[in-house]
Amino acid sequence: MNFKTLVLAALAVAAASAATAKSIELLNVSYDPTRELYVDYNAAFAKYWKAKTGDDVVVKQSHGGSGKQARSIIDGLQADVATLALAADIDALYDNAKLLPADWQKRLPNNSTPYTSTIVFLVRKGNPKGIKDWNDLVKPGVSVVTPNPKTSGGARWNYLAAWAYAKHRYGSDSAAQKFVAALYKNVPVLDSGARGSTTTFVQRAIGDVAISWENEAFLALKEFGADKFEVIVPSLSILAEPPVAVVDKVVKKKGTADVAKAYLEYLYSDEGQEIAGRNFYRPRNAAIAAKYASVFPQLQLVTIDAEFGGWTTAQKAHFAEGGVFDQIYAK
């Protein structure tokens, strides 16, 4: 075999492998605070997929308020997967455009939520107002920062967590409504999204306490320094389940159904769960959750299904036009 044929053979092999190794592009449309999580995860998935199938996969990310992102998908944004802040926003993809089946949440384990989070407080260093639990937020003179639940998915979790606390402590819905009304009386600024709210609290020095996603609070500590802020964990909070789903109509058109499905399933793998934990999302996998137990404090967590009868019911009762949230602002 001379040198020439060797080169030719090498070229032929390279050409053949180039022909079989496809280059795939996925679009993951997500909400605000997952930016850092998916930057990590996409790199890991690309490596895994390359090893498994030999194909290159590039995952593009789009982030914004959860509701706004859902609307973009309804209006035609070609999202292969939607990873949003709450199930109601993925339900909207079915309700408004039939982009996926109604029972999408049953297709993956744990209500299609590979990681969970919860709602905690971010306070200024030294906790000058002595905030320990939800009932400290309704005290006169305490200024609370939380976004508008009408425009922000995270803010809806905040609101429902406060409601659940009051219901458990004081026993009735009417007491809970009074509690939540008193809490929002202490809110000087209703930003439209979770990131805006964090900015108001951190950069503009507005408020004594910000109600925040757990991962967002940890991220603020990491970004702005643990010497300026502290995370306070209340006695009770809500188990926030940000779900993920393949957008059937889009992947069918783009021919990416298999890789999109694998992309979401890999979130449940050991590596996917590790990445979630590293980015301050609570892993579902018990073994990996145990590894991160020192990061995530123990507290009583209630679920939206047990407490509020699911998203559809909660949405209608609390956040729809004329719902409880509107009532507490009606004079």
Partner: protein, 298 residues
């Protein structure tokens, strides 16, 4: 046959240019607007009223139109002074000041909103001085005239309350007034003032009898533009307003809020109400302008 007299025009073909005008306006303005009307055509009257007349929405109309009006009025006054200074005097740095006036046109509104918030917030450069002053001023007013709820009207702070909205709307409206007044003031020769003076007019008379009637139509145009712009402004206001329902929530935010809840029709209904109201306001201002022109004929 006598030759027909046709007005000469630089652009050839009246038919062609009118056709182009109509097609262009149709594509850019009328079709999107009529889509809004089509969208609400399917709504029942009851749903429509429920969407556009709930107390929270009505409060937002009052706020949006009220603050826009106040901001446009202030701009009409101070914009006139700015335009006057830029036209009548030469001073070092005049060109730079002149260019600065255009800045609110060019700046993305979100940038303006974030910058204004950073400056006027309690820990901002201006806010740390101005905010306590404002709070004290409002407190004084409340002590003198206790039967009006000043704090609710004028806001408890500057940023994140009604004064913040006013500042943002004044900021974005200023260039409209200055840029419409400048050419008129350039046309207005200083000789006119000298003539008035030789005829025995004092400064006040020259101002009110000679200059103002001449620039009033342009001032109204600038005012109308600033006003219309302010009503529709969203980007800069949401950052500085505080967005309290029924208090510091502007109508464009109500529209966004409805969209976030997939209430496309409700959002369009509110948009149509704003559209119709703005149209009639601008129409009224146009009439007023026509009427005022009668007095400016020298």
């Amino acid at each position: 046959m006598a030759p027909t007299i046709r007005p000469r025009s630089v652009l050839p073909g009246f038919g062609l240019s009118l056709g182009f005008t109509l097609a262009y306006l149709g594509l850019i303005v009328l079709i999107p607007l009529s889509a809004a009307f089509l969208k609400i055509a399917g709504m029942s009257w009851h749903d429509f009223v429920a969407a556009v007349a709930s107390p929270r929405v009505v409060a937002s109309y009052r706020l949006s139109f009220g603050v826009s009006l106040a901001a446009a009025l202030v701009n009409a006054f101070f914009g006139f002074i700015v335009a006057w200074v830029l036209v009548r005097y030469t001073f070092p740095g005049r060109r730079i000041v002149d260019a600065l006036v255009d800045l609110p046109f060019a700046l993305p509104t979100a940038v303006a909103g974030i910058a204004l918030t950073a400056i006027y917030a309690k820990n901002g450069w201006v806010g740390q001085w101005l905010d306590p002053l404002w709070v004290r001023g409002v407190g004084r007013l409340a002590a003198f005239v206790p039967w009006i709820d000043w704090k609710s009207w004028l806001g408890g702070t500057i940023a994140f309350d009604r004064p913040g909205i006013f500042i943002a709307l004044t900021f974005i409206g200023l260039p409209f007034v200055v840029r419409t007044l400048q050419p008129v003031l350039i046309e207005l020769e200083p000789e006119l003032e000298e003539a008035a003076a030789t005829l025995g007019a004092n400064r006040w008379q020259t101002m009110t009898r000679v200059i103002l009637p001449e620039v009033f139509p342009a001032m109204l145009t600038g005012f109308a533009l600033a006003f219309a712009r302010a009503i529709g402004e969203y980007g800069s206001v949401v950052f500085i307003a505080g967005n309290q329902p029924a208090h510091s929530e502007i109508t464009p935010l109500i529209i966004i809020t409805k969209l976030e809840q997939y209430d496309y029709r409700g959002a369009t209904a509110v948009a149509v109400v704003m559209l119709v109201a703005s149209f009639f306001l601008l129409f009224a201002i146009n009439l007023l302008q026509k009427w005022s022109r009668r007095f400016s004929a020298v």
